[in-house]
Subunit: 134 residues, 2 copies
């Protein structure tokens, strides 16, 4: 069912400093910074040859990554995102298998403009897992 | 400098149960289980079209992932691994930039039979970062 690893997301408190580490120290290709007020984050993409790393900084007062950064002030890996062909079919299969989908169970339009769902980390090896319809 | 994302490693306490989640619930292609006594882990690879997920279970009394699992009993993402062309040149560049390499700073032969180094998570956004000479 799952296809490509779309991205690995790393939450950080200072996205400009984090971008400099990837650009200057690790020598990677980085995108410009984008504010995504609908998702409560600013994003920068690290473009690797086969996938991307998504840097996330909280934006606004109710950011979904604020609590994670309170617990992990140095930053850390926040989630992984796998591509699926059909997100509703994927969701129905997962729910039938007893896995928990976060929120109301309906796909939302994610930061890349495509339908996404998040799966409960306790059902997926302590790993917050996003599915994105590719 | 960094190239492909070689793998994302997820540490788990029960690799057979973890493999079943990726194979049966997420419908991914999984390898057979391998014991790697030199590295203190058992491994299973989840083969995605563009990269792989490496499941790690502690093996033996002195596993390098034992402490992580004490802190994260449900499991969790342990590290990311990027490919580099020349691991000694990469190390020298990183050290010159002030980044810390774990251990004695010399590459070791990793679980895939290739030279690897681990970088200090506090220098890389709270993320344990492995470099592997591709």
């Amino acid at each position: 069912m799952i296809g490509r690893l779309n991205h690995v997301a790393i939450a950080v408190s200072d996205i400009d400093a984090a971008t400099a580490i990837y650009r200057d120290t690790l020598g990677a290709d980085v995108s410009s910074r984008e504010e995504q007020p609908d998702h409560g984050v600013s994003t920068v993409f690290i473009n690797l040859p086969n996938t991307k790393i998504e840097l996330l900084e909280p934006l606004g007062d109710d950011s979904p990554i604020a609590k994670f950064l309170e617990k992990n002030p140095s930053g850390g890996i926040h989630h992984v995102c796998y591509e699926v062909d059909d997100i509703l079919a994927a969701r129905d299969k997962l729910v039938a298998d007893g896995a928990r989908v976060l929120g109301d169970g309906e796909p939302k339009i994610g930061a890349h403009g495509k339908p996404v769902l998040f799966l409960h980390p306790k059902d997926f090896l302590g790993t917050l897992t996003e599915l994105e319809e590719a």
